[in-house]
């Protein structure tokens, strides 16, 4: 890639952090609910197992 591209006409220190923040927000928005969902399903499975154990 052309080195001028990374320099962004002298504004690299503003442009690249903006894109890095954008990608970080996108990643956070998808990964956090996914991790929460997995943890939730595990917890619900354990709770339901316990309830079934009490019932038998």
């Amino acid at each position: 890639m052309n080195p001028g591209f990374w320099a962004m006409g002298g504004y690299a220190v503003y442009v690249w952090p903006a894109y890095a923040l954008g990608l970080a927000v996108l990643a956070w928005n998808w990964l956090v609910p996914e991790a929460h969902r997995r943890a939730l399903l595990r917890r619900l499975d354990e709770d339901h197992e316990e309830t079934r154990g009490i019932g038998t």
């Binding site: 504004y11 503003y14 927000v25 996914e34 939730l40 399903l41």
Partner: protein, 247 residues
Amino acid sequence: MWLWFHRLASPPSFYRFAGILAPWLLAIGLTAIAAGFYGGLVLAPADYQQGDAFRIIYVHVPAAWLSLLGYSAMAVAAFVALVWRIKLAEAVVVASAPAGASFTALALATGMLWGKPMWGAYWVWDARLTSELVLLFLYLGVVALNSAFSDPRAGARACALLALVGAVNVPIVHYSVVWWNSLHQGATVFKPGGPSISPGMLWPLLTAAFGFTMFYAAVVLRRMQNELLIRERNSLWVRELVPVVAA
């Protein structure tokens, strides 16, 4: 048609529907964002006044657009939740707030990064910036209020009320650059007489904004699925679903 909507409004049907739709929206959203960023960073010409600093627009504007769209959708859902007490509408309110808050924070942060080289300051107490900051506080208020309640339905109704009251800030954010003297530039895309931005700069912007919107929809659907699992944890459909999905 109404029967289809009625079926979709039931939590188990919606959970399955969201599970199918969310990955597609995610894939479409990420593809459009990648295309928009490539177009914005590589293909679009530099601005004649702002140089390459203007390329921050491809993150800043989609995030700012989502901050307003997300709050508007949340306020409509809040109205539906308060009037008709529909569980899915309550889930939309609770699921939208964290995502909306993150995109509002992104709009503010990227605006600061753009403001420094253009205005000489990261922050000014300008009408647009201040009203956007108030929007962030409203989103955070909804998130905090929801976590303060142990009963999810009571929490969702309180959040809906706050979201509805806060909706008054949405037109203030949008029209702040018209109503007051502002350092922030006015509308460049949706304005009478058409966009005042070159087509070579416009298409990556619209593509990125479309991608962000699809991505946001996918995230809200995923968060709504989580909300439904919590609220319906003792119902039969969750008891049948959990061992299959958790395995």
